[in-house]
Symmetry: C2
DNA sequence: TTAAAAAAATAAGATAGCTTAAGTATTTAC
DNA sequence: GTAAATACTTAAGCTATCTTATTTTTTTAA
């Protein structure tokens, strides 16, 4: 079986169960792609009309502000979905960049195909509805943290939740996700080490 | 026709069109409720198993941290949907409070009825899928702002986007939404007034 | 394998935003 | 209609976080 197909079908089957025919129809709409390290899926200003499922690798979704600083909005590794929902929902050019930080293999589906599949397989629309609910819960939690926690607390939360990423992305990127400068994150880490060790 | 039914049907018909029978089935699951000013829909620790559509009034969704401070996560006025997606998706007690800040009239639908309706009327699942996409886009924008903007910029953004709320909720609540103290917001407003006027 | 580039650490000085406290204005509840 | 409660403003001093600059470490690419 083609690369990653089993992974994506398993991912879906955790939430809804498709018949063999439905699986085949779904799979027929997938496009397999590979990106090199540092290569971009999406650049600010483009229109985003796809949804990607990561089979292998790691990508970052970031926003670059008017002073040239990047802010990490989201990351995704194998078995995760990634795309720019804002751009594709509102049909506006994206303000985000999506970049591979490792060699990355994805399965991609276009917005048009996805809309067709939602008609053909309502269970698939359910799957994405539930995925979106989880994403809303996750984003809301991040807002709660940004409103109510210190940088140190947010770093500890990041570690608890995404510790597996700590050696896969740089401190610079973690700092950007937390909303602090890399210098300040470095200081936070030093303090935590001297206290706990 | 009962209070607000037309409003909710119009709200849905902006995204999907239901037949008369589907509308009737949907409407049959709605419960009409009124809340007094300051009354709570939902308290931290409860399980949230409903979705609310505001017909009239205004509610605030806030998180209270361990030091007793409140942080405004979301607000909703007439013609908006509100609920705790995190709690109802993951079946965990909510960490949020939902409180009416004015006399508020709502139409409520239970999670069970909603799930039944998604089976009976797939278009309704589409409606909520699209609503969730918009919510994700909105939350993501808020994260971008919190990562990349100063308090003054965030306040101007709030005014541009939610100016209609400026006289409906207090400065305290706006400050809490922006993630600053009310004292600091007061200072921001003074500076803006002295510069622009 | 090594030179160049990028990332991370350290530290000193600067600032956005917080705390505390007091005073004034507005709203609420009887 | 009035007293009490709540919201808002102002201001001084404080702290978390940023900026800038330098050094050290790690990664990248030829």
């Amino acid at each position: 079986m083609q690369q990653g197909i089993q992974l994506i079908l398993d991912n879906i089957s955790k939430i809804v169960s498709l018949t063999k025919e439905e699986q085949d129809l779904f799979v027929s709409k997938l496009q397999y792609l590979e990106y090199k390290k540092k290569e971009f899926f999406l650049h600010e200003g483009q229109f985003s009309n796809e949804l990607n499922f990561i089979i292998e690798g790691c990508v970052l979704v970031f926003y670059t502000d008017h002073t040239g600083f990047s802010h990490l909005i989201q990351f995704a590794i194998e078995d995760w979905w990634v795309g720019d929902i804002a751009s594709s929902t509102h049909n506006i050019p994206t303000q985000l960049n999506i970049q591979a930080v490792e060699k990355t293999k994805v399965l991609r589906i276009s917005k048009e195909d996805l809309e067709y599949l939602f008609e053909a397989i309502p269970k698939l629309e359910r799957f994405f509805r539930i995925l979106l609910q989880k994403r809303v819960a996750n984003l809301q939690q991040r807002i709660i943290s940004s409103l109510s926690k210190t940088a140190t607390e947010r770093f500890l939360e990041f570690r608890a939740q995404y510790g597996f990423l700590e050696n896969r992305i740089t401190q610079l990127q973690i700092a950007s996700f937390l909303g602090v400068t890399p210098e300040f994150l470095s200081m936070i880490r030093r303090k935590l080490n001297s206290t706990n060790k």
